[in-house]
């Protein structure tokens, strides 16, 4: 009876079998990596804004405090976006006819809001509150990164659930004295751990069990 297969057929079969296995594993690893990639998390991308606003310029160069524009950050869930007239408080004097600021002037003139693209964004079913985080000594930089060095604003951290949980499971390392919350240059003292423990006590930070209870963020 004539041979159906060549001599190498067997080796091919094995190769294919192994290949399939490796491919499956590879596929899983790729998916794993992709889910953590900057692309998927929309990190470090600067969307096109109506006005090329530079935090670097306003915060670092001009030394304007975060709260000047994000005025409700301590009193409300939302940090609050500056109303046009807030921009114009300065820009009615400075750069009064700079081309880039045209949309701002137009907005004031036509009494029509400027549509900014949101950069730091959590899903609708996540109820994040700025006020409590500020009150408990969690600095802007913890979530927003070195925004004071951003010529154009981008998302610095991957806002995955894990990112929130890491902190809620062990807040101490992420705490600082309340008066340093807006200070991007703040350097933790050598005994950061001790400081963390102290602040945990002083600010009555809840237990991880309470902080990680689903109802803390989801309703």
């Amino acid at each position: 009876m004539p041979q159906i297969f060549s001599r190498t057929a067997d080796s091919w079969l094995r190769a294919v079998a192994w290949g399939a296995l490796l491919f499956a594993i590879g596929l899983f690893l790729v998916a794993f990596a992709f889910a953590r990639s900057q692309y998927w998390d929309v990190v470090a991308r600067t969307p096109l804004q109506p006005v090329p606003f530079s935090h670097k310029h306003h915060v670092t160069d001009d030394g304007i405090d975060c709260r000047y524009c994000h005025s409700t950050v301590e009193t409300s869930a939302n940090a609050g976006f500056p109303a046009t007239h807030v921009c114009m408080t300065c820009h009615s004097q400075l750069w009064t006819n700079a081309e880039v600021l045209a949309p701002v002037r137009q907005s004031l003139a036509e009494n029509r809001p400027i549509l900014w693209r949101r950069v730091a964004r959590v899903p609708d079913y996540v109820y994040f509150r700025h006020d409590i985080h500020i009150a408990k000594g969690v600095a802007c930089v913890e979530c927003h990164g070195r925004i004071d060095r951003m010529p154009l604003t981008y998302r610095a951290k991957a806002f995955e659930m894990k990112f929130c949980l890491d902190c809620h499971r062990d807040p101490a390392p992420h705490l600082r004295p309340r008066d340093q919350v807006y200070n991007f240059e703040w350097k933790p003292p050598p005994d950061h751990a001790a400081l963390g423990r102290r602040l945990m006590a002083d600010y009555h930070i809840k237990s991880p069990a309470e902080l990680t209870s689903c109802g803390t963020c989801h309703r």
Partner: protein
């Protein structure tokens, strides 16, 4: 404690055999091929509608931020504001506190500072917010049914004004709906002086067409220790429901019965008041006067033994509590009864204590200006122009007045209202009115206080206030509404600071001039039925009322307190008559009276007087909006102008059957309800049973964390009014799913009020039991979920994480209380604009395929917790109020921290009346109940 057998409907009482049930249950299934298409009504609602003014120039993407150009003073994004104002019910003010978020009103609650309402609310107050966002509201003036502009209308108005100035307004008639607005009354007076020939008629279908005045006695049950009510549904729907319920709550739920109120109720058809009464008597309307005489002690009367016994006891009770008792008579009762109650109360020295003689608060037409007079004048061609303002006579006229035809005889017909309704449809002009929340006005609450109604949102459409429309009749230049309202109060509230204060507190004291009571002219005595006839009682619908709420999805889907049916009105019929006529709930019956008939689904109603049939108003609308149109039957057709509330006639089965969308299952066996609703007496106050003692468990007890949230519901206070249900729906973005879905057992209400009966179906005990999630410490639902979508919080909440739920529905299968609700379809995304604007931004809007349930209003808990946490303190007692608790007018629900022994809820937990639902299941619920206090306990 056996002996008392509970049951919930007559079918259940008279068992039907398994086989016939099997047929009923199994066989329709195969044929229901394409019926899956749910909520046809709401699908129509899906037809979106561009919002005038709100349609943006540039599309706003989901991740856009839209900051202010100028931030309004004091507005905090992400926080809510509260404004004291009022909504209207039968023209009366219902003082509310409106919650707005980002400038849009999202919730209404009773105004806690109002001395009479004290924060209590009714389903109607709660649901009024949805009427504001009703997609079917009239949005522009119509001329002959075609869109026109206010400019056109004003132009016409100019010419008419000129003419009226000539003839002093001869031929000009105004037909106005019930109102208590001091400003409106002022304007009417001014109009009359400007145009002496013009006449203003009142159209008030709920008081009477012949210009009847309401009862001269203004009951104030707060001081009453004994109340004998002759068909007066004190606790049922009405402008005084919230205030009465509050008084009721204050005088109940207290084991040492010193302050307890005793209630005698003689009713011609079962009501909530009857359900809660200590002594209830069902009596046909024709015998009510006799009963009244018996109480007044007026000579020989012919009554049945039970009626006589009731009358004697009532009489005795009234006398024992002289000065603190009250004999009250329902608005539906004939005139002589009102005079009887006046005499009796005066004799007992109750006047001034539990009731006073009060002049009517609302607009009362002068003699000869009733609706019937208007009809006469139209027939006599004396009416050249008729302005119908805030009324819908074409729909609400009695059957013996063909108003549509009569109306057509008026040359100029102008209708002003919120909707393009039946009347608007056949008017030359229709002009849209503002919703009370959109503009300035004022009105008086039934207790006599006035509320200045301030707008909480800019008018959404091109509409005007009723004041502007009325002013335009005589004035060429109409000032903005505020400037019309403000002068009314110029004397009383001079300076602006006082004005601001009045707005802030939400009420203004107002003298209620009490002269001698005018002899009330109410409808004549109910006719006695001839042989083979039944007495027909006509009442407003329990949730749709006179039909003005027909397009309100929340109220349509709200189970009627006693029937638990939704989306249509029924014909209530007594169990005996039903078995006599071989009628079952859901069978179509034809009611025939004076050669006028209606067909409606029968509802066998325990406690209904034997030969009495009750019809309910408010349905059968022809132009009631996209969901209010064409459902139910129109009972107005059966009314007689002379006698709106009673008639006689016949009832028979048509042989047809309909599927009623009832939220409580009908066919049940006896005994199953034992122990679910409990009654104790002052002598034996313990509701807890021997076998329910705290038992050792293999499971670790749930830590009583700080705080440990818990709820206690007092069944002695609960009046089954459903305010909590609507409040929950409005607070938690609970969708309306439509009749078909409710009929399939898919209603979404997180909080339901179960209704149970006990005893003889002819004269049963009725029990109400609100059932929210029990937040079990040993929750069966939690162990079933494969993805941790329902878990327990350290504070003892049974959390439901919608965004984690994959919809295995194991939790609901395991839940012994069946309080979980499932999104079988996408119930939310096609809700009609602008109703989404009402949604609470702090509560996730659930999508298709996820489970949902009561959360104890976690958004409120979180708010309070965070606030307390920022201030480094614990949450204070009373800082967190759940929506249901806040709404409850009878204070039946308390919520708080069980770990704090001083908290109200912890105290109530220690009451002997405290018991848990299905305690034997070992679920250790955080929600418990306080047993009802009765004169005999379950055992006896």
């Amino acid at each position: 404690m056996s002996g008392k057998r509970f049951w919930r409907s007559v079918e259940e009482y008279q068992r039907s055999d398994a086989f016939s049930e099997m047929l009923k249950v199994e066989f329709p299934s195969i044929f229901e091929l394409w019926t899956v298409d749910r909520r046809e009504v709401l699908r129509v609602m899906g037809a979106s509608l561009a919002l005038a003014g709100m349609s943006g120039c540039k599309p706003v993407r989901s991740d856009d931020v839209v900051p202010f150009v100028n931030r309004p003073e004091g507005l905090l994004e992400g926080r809510t504001d509260h404004y004291a104002t009022a909504v209207l019910f039968e023209g009366h003010a219902q003082p509310v506190l409106a919650t707005t978020s980002g400038g849009r009103p999202i919730k209404l609650d009773g105004n806690p500072e109002h001395p009479a309402f004290r924060g209590g609310s009714t389903p109607f107050m709660q649901a009024a917010i949805l009427d504001l966002y009703d997609p079917d509201r009239s949005q522009e003036p119509l001329f002959g049914g075609h869109p026109a502009s206010w400019a056109d209308f004003d132009g016409q108005m100019g010419n008419w004004r000129a003419a009226w100035r000539q003839n002093q307004g001869a031929g000009l008639r105004i037909l106005i709906g019930p109102t208590t607005s001091p400003t409106l009354l002022r304007q009417i007076a001014e109009l009359k002086s400007a145009l002496p020939q013009a006449r203003v008629h009142l159209f008030d279908p709920l008081t009477g067409y012949a210009g009847e005045a309401a009862s001269p006695l203004q009951a104030n049950i707060a001081n009453a220790q004994v109340i004998v009510s002759l068909d007066d549904d004190l606790l049922g729907p009405g402008p005084m429901q919230a205030t009465n319920a509050r008084a009721w709550g204050d005088r109940h739920g207290d084991l040492d019965g010193s302050g307890r109120m005793r209630l005698f109720m003689a009713e011609t058809t079962p009501t909530q008041t009857g359900a809660k009464a200590d002594r209830r008597l069902g009596i046909p309307p024709s015998r009510l006067p006799t009963l009244a005489k018996a109480i007044a002690g007026g000579g020989e009367v012919t009554l049945t033994d039970s009626e006589l016994a009731w009358a004697r006891e009532a009489r005795r009770a009234l006398e024992t509590a002289r000065g603190r008792s009250l004999l009250t008579v329902g608005r539906f009762a004939p005139a002589d009864l009102h005079s009887i109650s006046l005499q009796v109360n005066e004799a007992l020295g109750n006047v001034g204590q539990t009731c006073e003689i009060a002049a009517p608060l609302g607009f009362v037409p002068q003699a000869g200006d009733s609706f019937l007079d208007l009809i006469r004048d139209i027939e006599a061609r004396r009416v050249s122009a008729l302005f119908v303002i805030g009324a819908n006579p074409v729909y609400q006229s009695p059957g013996d007045i063909p108003f549509a035809a009569i109306y057509a005889k008026v040359p100029l017909r102008v209708h002003a209202g919120l909707h393009v309704d039946e009347t608007a449809a056949i008017s030359n002009w229709h002009v849209p009115l503002n919703h009370p929340l959109e503009d300035w006005s004022d009105a008086r609450s039934p207790d006599g206080l006035a509320t200045i109604i301030q707008p909480v949102v800019r008018p959404m459409y091109d509409s005007r206030s009723v004041h502007e429309v009325l002013a335009a009749l005589s004035a060429d230049e109409v000032p903005p509404t505020r400037d019309i309202v403000r002068p009314t109060w110029a004397k009383q509230i001079g300076d602006e600071t006082a004005w601001e204060a009045a707005l802030k507190t939400g009420f203004v004291a107002m003298a209620q001039q009490a002269e001698q009571a005018a002899a009330p002219v109410t409808s004549a005595t109910a006719p006695a039925p001839r042989e083979g006839e039944v007495e027909i009682v006509i009442r407003p619908d329990p949730t749709i009322h006179d039909g003005s709420f027909a397009n309100n999805g929340w109220l349509q889907e709200l189970p009627k307190p006693l029937f638990k049916t939704t989306w249509e009105n029924v014909v209530a019929i007594s169990p005996r008559l039903a078995s006599e006529l071989k009628i079952d709930s859901g069978d179509m019956v034809r009611v025939d009276s004076n050669a006028r008939t209606v067909d409606g689904p029968a509802w066998v109603l325990p406690g209904q007087p034997e030969r009495v049939v009750t019809l309910y108003l408010g349905y059968g609308r022809k132009r009631g909006g996209r969901i209010g149109t064409g459902i139910g039957y129109d009972a107005y057709r059966m009314r007689n102008a002379a006698q709106p509330w009673n008639c006689t006639g016949t009832v028979r089965s048509t042989g047809a059957r309909t599927v009623l969308a009832a939220t409580q299952e009908q066919h049940l066996m006896d005994g199953e309800v034992e122990g679910l609703v409990r009654t104790v007496t002052r002598e034996h106050p313990s509701a807890r049973r021997e076998e329910e003692r705290e038992q050792d468990s293999f499971y670790a007890k749930w830590p009583q964390g700080k705080p440990a949230w818990g709820m206690v519901i007092d069944l002695d206070r609960c009046i089954g009014c459903n305010a909590c249900v609507v409040a929950c729906q409005s607070e938690n973005n609970v969708p309306v799913v439509g009749k078909d879905q409710v009929a399939r057992g898919r209603e979404m209400a997180w909080l339901r009020v179960d209704r149970y009966y006990a005893g003889d179906p002819q004269d049963p005990e009725t029990h109400f039991e609100p059932v929210p999630c029990m937040h079990c410490e040993q929750a069966p639902c939690e162990m079933g979920c494969p993805v941790h979508a329902t878990v327990h919080s350290p504070e003892g909440l049974n959390l439901m994480v919608y965004n984690r739920c994959i919809g295995t529905r194991t939790c609901s299968s395991y839940c012994p209380y069946k309080v979980r609700r499932f999104n079988w379809f996408d119930y939310t995304s096609d809700a009609p604009s602008p109703t989404e604007a009402q949604r609470n931004p702090d509560v996730t809007v659930r999508g298709r395929g996820v489970m949902e349930k009561c959360t104890y209003c976690i958004q409120r808990i979180e708010d309070a917790t965070v606030q307390a946490d920022i201030e480094n303190r614990a949450v204070r007692e009373g800082e967190v109020k759940t929506a249901c608790q806040q709404a409850c007018p009878a204070q039946a629900i308390s919520f708080g921290n069980l770990a704090d022994p001083e908290s109200a809820v912890a105290k109530q937990r220690r009451s002997p009346r405290n018991y848990a639902l299905l305690a034997e299941q070992g679920t250790r619920p955080r929600t418990t109940y306080l047993a009802r206090i009765g004169e005999k306990s379950d055992g006896e």
